[in-house]
Each structure stands twice: as C-alpha cells, then as structure tokens.
C-alpha cells in the first residue's frame, strides 16, 4: 500500500495528480478461500480488515453484489454514538466508539471523524423519563452522558423552536459529548484499501446466488461469477440478509424496509452538534454545510432503495415544526437505503445451524456507528469459531430463549416489528 501523507500529496501535486494509483485491486475470484464474506458494506469490509490485521487470516474474499459503497454504508446519515440502554448494547457500541477515535490513523485514510457531541430531545414527559432512565443506565456502565435542561438546549441550538407554543415542546434532553459524525464513504474506502493491502480480495459485481452445504457443513457459495469454495462463510448483507440466509434455509427475525435521508443546499455553520428527536429522527450539518436529515423507516417491506413521497411530506412537516426558520431552505437531494430491522432492534451476530456459516446482520437503522466494533468482534468470532464476549449475547438463540435486547428507543426505530 502506498501510504497517504503530506509528502505523497506534495509529490503527486508536482505530477499534476496524475500519478495516483488505484486504492485497491479488482481481482478475479479464486476458486477457494479460508473465509468468504457476503456483502461489501461497512461491516463486511471491516470484518475482512480485522481478520487480516488482527488474526493473520489473509486468504479472505469480500464478495459484493454491486459496487463497493453502494449499500447502506454510504447511504446513512453518519451519526456515531453509544448511548444505548442495555448493558450488552452499550458495551458493544462503546467499543466501536473507542475504535473510531484512532481509525483514520490506523487505516491511513481520513474518515473525517468529528466528535461534535449529540443531543437527544424529549418532547413529552414519558420521553423525558425514558431519556433519564437511559442516561442513568449508561452512567452505571461508565459511559459519559448527562441530562441537559431546555434553556441549555435553546442556547446550543438557536434554530430549534423551544418556545412554549412549539408543536413539539422541548422538555429536556440528553447529551453525549464524544458522539459525532464521520464521512461514510471514506469508511468503506478506508477499510477496503487497508484490507486489500493485506491480501484480502474484494470482488465487486459478484452476487451470491446460492449457499452450498456438505452434510451440515458449509461448502461454499455459488455466485454470478462461479462457485467459490470456503471453510467459513459470513452473511453480512444488511438489507438483503433475509434473501441470503434463505439460500441456506435459515429464517431470520428481520424485515427489510426503506429508510430515507435528505440534504439541503450548503449553509453557513449553525448546527454545531448532532440533534436527534423522536419527532424527526436526526439532524446534523455536514462539513460542506448541508443540513442532513435522517427520516426513519417506511411502514411496509421494501427492497426498492426509494422512499415514498408520503414520508417526505411527513418528515418535512416535522422538520418545519422543530426548525421553523428552515422553511426557506432548498432541499437538494434525497435517497433511500434498505435497512434490516430485527424484532428487538438489535443486531443478530454469531453462529447458525450450518457449521461454518455465520451471521452479522440486523443492524437496521443504526449500524454505521457500529462498523469498527462489529468488524473487530466479528473477525474474532470467525477466527476462533466462538463469539467474542462482547457479541455473545447477540446470537440468533436469543429469540428462542426470550433474552431479547430491546433497543427500539435508543435506535430510533419507531416502527413496530410485525
């Protein structure tokens, strides 16, 4: 890997920037790998990277149906935080938050991680109680969060309607100082480049169409570019996890929905923190100045990557209720991603009934923040054949035992699982 640095920038500037080489190869798939990862999103690429970097397993392929960064990894609103209610979630997401801090250095790729802090709003009494409970639980787990008063919220977010006549009155909020945002496609590219340089093959335009088993064991995957044999196969296909798991006869507690986001024209900096509200899922201002709005999921199952106009109308109304001064701002673009929402709004990570076949799915509306932590723990899981302690509670078996990890409130998944 040619390292990126101030010197490489200067050298290439002298050559009119025509000398940059490709950041990763586009190899033909080999007939056999130790590990095949289905899905080249954030979680798949991070898993491949940590397999090579931490466990010395380099004979790995990431097999991607479309192009790298075409899935949710580059369709999200890039919010990173760890303020989840239950111990299991808080520890996993907080491990991830710790990894974010040094990620740019580790990958030699600027992920533009910007820990600018995050406010969660409460608009009614029950919401406030819920937030207070979550803050108390987090503090017991050693994660630094606090409650903040409406006056302080009004001071920090002048655009927010905090008046007594507001449609969504601001009764209070919680604050996580270490939360923030990052540049989402840089995360995909950074992990891809670092994994590739350690020998991982990233095979794009290679849809997995079948999962083959010999006895109760995994044998490999049939793809649009032929059969690939593997001793270990991991399903990390986000929105398509159910489709891929069905190829191995596995049913998942997951429904795929479209989630939308949209962005405005660039404005001067005015929103210095991320703001989440139960009425409107999220707002932050990108480094380019655009307001980025995350909108929550559509009601019905979908694989279309296109949200409905009904939902845009609803979200626009909510946005203007919260931020009346946005009425004259032009929204420029919107898009959708297919999110895999699980029954308890927590991911499903671990073994399957097929030996050698693993799952890392169900991240739903909130998996971007978890990419480093998920990749780090899941690589350990694949390398050892046993779940890393941080992800052990997240196995598929929890739906049998009833030990659910309900994170509907913290994840902002407002839709009921049906």
């Amino acid at each position: 890997m040619r390292r990126y640095s101030i010197w490489s920038l200067a050298r290439n500037a002298r050559g009119h920037h025509e000398g940059w080489t490709e950041a990763w190869r586009s190899p033909e798939p080999k007939p056999e790998y130790d590990v095949v990862i289905i899905g080249g999103g954030g979680h798949g690429l991070a898993t491949a990277y940590y397999l090579a970097a931490e466990h010395g397993i380099r004979n790995v392929a990431v097999v991607e149906r479309g192009w790298l960064g075409g899935g949710n990894v580059a369709r999200n609103t890039a919010i990173i935080r760890s303020n989840y209610l239950h111990d299991d979630s808080a520890f996993l997401y907080d491990k991830s938050l710790q990894l974010w801090r040094d990620l740019s250095g580790e990958l030699n790729f600027n992920t533009m991680f910007s820990p600018r802090g995050l406010i969660n709003l409460a608009h009614d009494k029950s919401g406030l109680v819920e937030l207070a409970r979550r803050v108390a639980a987090l503090r017991l787990n050693g994660i630094r969060v606090s409650m903040i008063a409406p006056e302080e919220i009004a001071r920090r977010i002048p655009a927010l309607d905090c008046s007594t006549r507001a449609a969504n009155p601001v009764l209070g909020g919680s604050w996580q100082e270490k939360a923030g945002i990052a540049r989402h496609d840089a995360v995909a590219w950074g992990y891809a480049r670092a994994a590739d340089s350690r020998g991982v093959d990233i095979v794009q335009n290679c849809e997995v169409v079948g999962i083959r088993r010999e006895g109760g064991r995994i044998a490999g995957v049939d793809t649009a570019r032929g059969f690939i044999r593997a001793r270990t196969v991991a399903i990390v296909a986000a929105g398509h996890s159910g489709v891929v798991a069905a190829m191995a006869g596995i049913r998942l507690p997951i429904a795929s929905h479209t989630m939308q986001a949209y962005v405005s024209e660039p404005l001067k900096p005015f929103a210095h923190t991320v703001v989440m509200s139960p009425a409107l899922v999220s707002l932050n201002q990108s480094d380019k100045g655009e307001i980025v709005i995350g909108m929550g999921t559509e009601e019905y199952n979908s694989y279309s990557q296109q949200g409905s106009l009904t939902h845009i109308e609803y979200v626009t109304q909510k946005m203007l209720e919260l931020y009346p001064s946005f009425s004259r701002i032009r929204m420029l673009r919107k898009w959708g991603g297919i999110v895999d929402v699980s029954a308890d709004a927590s991911p499903v990570i671990g073994k399957t009934p097929v030996e050698g076949l693993y799952l890392n799915v169900g991240w739903g509306t909130g998996g971007f923040k978890a990419i480093p932590g998920s990749g780090w723990t899941f690589a350990h899981t694949l390398a050892r054949g046993e779940p890393h302690p941080l992800v052990a509670p997240f196995g598929l078996e929890r739906f049998h035992s009833g030990r659910m990890i309900g994170e509907h409130g913290a994840s902002g998944s407002l839709e009921r699982y049906k």
């Binding site: 044998a219 059969f227 489709v243």
Partner: protein, 122 residues
C-alpha cells in the same frame, strides 16, 4: 404514492392505510406443545421476500377493516387485493437474483435448490 384498493371501499391513497406485515401466519393450535425454537419461528421469523409478498393492510382512516394484498417489494406494484380468510391468489413468484455462472466444483453435487426460485412466496 401508492394507490391501494380496499376491498370494501375501493381505491384510496396510501396515507389512509396501515401495513400489518406478512399475511397467512397461522397461530399454532397448541402453543404449549411447541419447542422454544418453533414458538420463536411463529413469533419472530419472517419470509421478508424480495419479490411477491403477501401482506396484511388495514384501512385505518376509512372503514378500519383488515384485508390482504400481494405486492412486489421491489417495484411496490400491487398484484392483488383480497379479503381476510380468502385463499392467497396464485401469483407466479418473481426472482431478482442473478443466474449463477457455470464455473462449478466437480467434487460437489449441484445444489438442487439453485435452479428453483427461492425468493417468491411459498
């Protein structure tokens, strides 16, 4: 926006309806006789079809009655509307999965599931 035909009221805008998820999930007759895994399958596991999905809808801002529909989850096109208790119409499943390439491993028997459709409604 979706145009949804309530079997009782006729075509109406999407905003009048609520979606109730996968249809035709039958509650087990004797839950106590099931294993935990079978009960979990009934409660939580879903087909999550990419293609023709049979699902429940309610005309929540209209007659407030439940009905079933068949809808393609990729195009969002509705293919049928029918009342609760009626049998699902016979609609050919659609597959959005690529065809596998011929490079096969001679040591392995071909996967019998591979050439049948795996995404449509079963």
């Amino acid at each position: 926006m979706l145009l949804i035909t309530c079997p009782f009221c006729g075509p109406r805008d999407e905003s009048e309806f609520a979606c109730g998820g996968e249809a035709h999930i039958v509650r087990p007759a004797d839950p106590a006789a099931l294993t935990d895994a079978q009960w979990a399958d009934y409660l939580f596991m879903r087909k999550n079809v990419k293609g023709v999905h049979f699902e429940r809808w309610m005309h929540s801002h209209g007659c407030r009655r439940w009905f079933n529909a068949a809808r393609d989850t990729v195009t969002h096109q509705f293919l049928a509307f029918y009342k609760m208790g009626e049998q699902a119409p016979d609609i050919a499943p659609v597959s959005y999965t690529a065809r596998p390439a011929p490079r096969t491993d001679p040591a392995l028997p071909a996967d019998p599931a591979l050439h049948t459709d795996r995404e449509g409604a079963r």
